[in-house]
Each structure stands twice: as C-alpha cells, then as structure tokens.
Symmetry: C2
Subunit: 210 residues, 2 copies
DNA sequence: TAGATTGTTAATCGATTAACAATC
DNA sequence: TAGATTGTTAATCGATTAACAATC
C-alpha cells in the first residue's frame, strides 16, 4: 500500500528504528508504547502513531507495540531486509572515514568499491577494499547492479561525477559535496554539509564571543 | 528585530548564502533575483522572498538583489561576520577528516583544539593541531570562550561527553554520533548520521536488487 | 472489570504559494 | 514610459496535535 507517504514521514522512520533497536538492547520488556518512544525522541506520541498508521496497524490497544515486531516492520517498509551494496567515490580523508565506519556493514550497507582519480591513492587499501581507478566505475555499477553511491569528491568534479553515476544506474546518492546537485526526478539525493549545519546554529549564538 | 523566526527559515539561509557566494564567483553581474536563485536551488521564488522578508528589505523592485550586499546581510544575520573557534572531540578517522577539511577555516570556523582519550593519539598532529588529552577540555573551552563543539566520539561516551561540554560552556554541538542526545533548551544541536540518510533513501529503491 | 494505549477523526497550527500593488 | 521584480497579503496546502471511541 504505497499511496503517497509524505517524505517527512519517511524521514522519521529511521529515527524510530534506531531508537527501537536501542530499546531492544537495553531492555527486557518486549513492548514499548508511542508515549515511551515519544518521550525518548522528544516528539509527540500522536505523531508517532500517525506516522506508523500510514503503513498499517502494528500495535495493540492497552499494550502498545512489540519492539521486535515493529523493528521488523520498519525494516521491511524501508527496504532494509536485504544487504545493499554501496560504492564510495573519493578516497580522501572523508572517504577514509566512511570506509572505516563499521555502522554501514552492521546495518546492511556494504561498501564494496572505492574509486578515486589520484594515482597516488589507487591500489592502496582502505578498510578491506582496494582503491580503484575511476575508469572502472560504470562497469562496477552495472555488473553488480549497485544502486547506492556515496560521493566524497571535491566540489569541482561533483556534478560531472554525479551525471556519470546516474547514467551508470545509481538511484540514491549521499553526497558530502557542498553544492546543489542537479539530478533527475527518479534519483534520490541526500546532502551532508557540516558548514551549513554550523551556520544554522550560529544564528542562535550570542554575537559577543570575547 | 528578532521576533521569532521559524527554524525552518533559518535552516534555508545558509543554503541561500552558499548559492549567492557561488553566484558572486561565477558571474560578472552584480545582481540576482529571487527567481534566479529559486531556479538554481529548486525551490519557489516566493519562498525566498518571504524568508528574506523576515529580516528586512534587501532587494529593489525591477532589479532584484545585489549579490554582494545580500551576502553581507546573510552573514550578519547568521552571525558569520566573526571568526568562530571550534573544538573537535574525537580524533579517529572522522575527526581526522574534519580536522583536514579546509572549508571550515575558509568560512570563519577555526578548529583550535582536538581532544581524544586514546593515549596512542594524544600528542600526534592532525592538520596543524596537536591532539590533546581529554582532561584539559573544560579549561580550553573556558579560557578561550569557545561556544561550538564538533562531536566525533563513539556512541558509548557521547552523552557523557555532551554533558561535560555543556557544563563547560558549549552552546552549539554538531554531532556525528548516532544517538539522540539530551541537551538543555539553550543548547543547539545538529545531527549528522549517514545511516539515517541512507535508510531514508532505500525506501524509494525498488526491492529487487539482483 | 479497570487501566492503558492504539488508530483515527477533526481541529489547530504553521508553512508554502499565488497574486498583485508598489516601485525601481 | 514599459518591463521587471520586490515585499506582502490572502488563499491554499500540509503537517501536527488533541481527543476519544475502540479494544486489548
């Protein structure tokens, strides 16, 4: 039943999932409630119930939600029951950090290829993956049916690289490049720019920082 | 005139600023319009005009906005006219990447201290900064009046570290730790979690990824 | 049965957009 | 003057919340 769920709702599901996983580890109780979740996440219980109701009825009156069951359901909804292969473009410091982050692997995202243009980096090991030269990127995407890319390249080559990725079949891009990328409608894009985040916060800081 | 600007508006200002800076570099024209900006950012021109109108009148009918002037104004509004000192907590791979990112420095954020608990890292150089042992963190914050921290530590110590930072006077935290942190109302917090971003995007991916 | 909590409806709140008078 | 574009008002759209019947 994929009517037309607001993107803002989809945006919250991974947060719910993360907290539920945490609950399932902390906890001997098999159940939780929208109220407990809401309290932990700092949002309203009505919102959680409303969000979940877009996808079905997962709770029971009086007892709330079975944690393990709700985790399963959220994973199913978000297409997290399978292992996703991910390519990483850019083997600089940030690429390094991403390649070494164990959280991807643990949650079903496996970085299988790393690409860069710098001859000095090509052939070096990052995590357990050898950095490959960029020329092979289309083949890697197509042969392995890879749908997800992480982009950690300099701004100057970001749009060109994006176009290449999409042409080769990539459908979701997580980018760390601080520019607005042009992508067709069928491609998902998600930005991470620490400067933008810092600049939002300084608005709330008192100016006199002696 | 700080009535009560919606946070969602504040969130867009750095995006406008980023695009304006870009425009000012690409371009010989001194002016732009809400329409041009809107087109580049993929949002509506009305929204841009509305957002800016919260803070004053920066444009001229018929000619639009002077790019340099609007940049100045946005920087003033966001408190970006001064240099902000930032401490970085966590000198792992991610800390490394952050310490080497030149964009901070260029945009008025200077990472002046890096802290870690790992004795193997303490004393090593990262960028141009020596990693210090965590014990000195309160003194560094207080003596330098630092208000902004970037948190790149393991999940298990994140809340404790957050509490310490806030107690010492930190008011804005950019965190890469994948948990919901509890902070008092006067503290700004901004999250960056690549897994959450990936999990949002997989919702839109077709499940059959053979 | 009494207490708790869901899923959902209706009311409220807030954000976006359309439209246009003002004016450069 | 004619054309362009602002700032703003009013209309629309969408998201959040309050409330409660249903029911475990």
């Amino acid at each position: 039943m994929t009517k037309l769920i607001p993107a803002i709702v989809i945006g919250r599901l991974p947060i719910y999932l993360r907290e539920l996983v945490r609950l399932s580890k902390e906890n001997t109780r098999p159940n939780t409630s929208s109220q407990e979740l809401a309290h932990r996440l700092g949002i309203s219980s009505a919102q959680i119930r409303k969000d979940l109701s877009h996808f079905g009825e997962f709770g029971k009156q009086g007892t709330g939600y079975n944690i393990a069951y709700l985790i399963e359901q959220l994973q199913r909804i978000l297409h997290l029951t399978e292992q996703w292969e991910v390519i990483l473009v850019g083997a600089g410091y940030l690429g390094h950090a991403l390649a070494h982050y164990g959280g991807f692997q643990r949650r079903g995202f496996r970085i299988t290829h790393v690409f860069d243009t710098d001859p000095a980096l090509i052939g070096t090991e990052m995590g357990e993956i050898v950095v490959q030269k960029i020329e092979g990127i289309e083949a890697a995407i197509q042969e392995n049916g890879i749908k997800i890319a992480i982009l950690a390249v300099p701004r100057s080559v970001a749009q060109k690289m994006t176009d290449r990725l999409i042409k080769a079949g990539i459908l979701s891009i997580l980018t760390y490049t601080p520019i607005q990328l042009k992508v067709p409608d069928h491609v998902q894009i998600s930005y991470s720019d620490p400067l933008v985040q810092l600049q939002q916060m300084t608005y709330y800081l008192p100016r006199d920082a002696d």
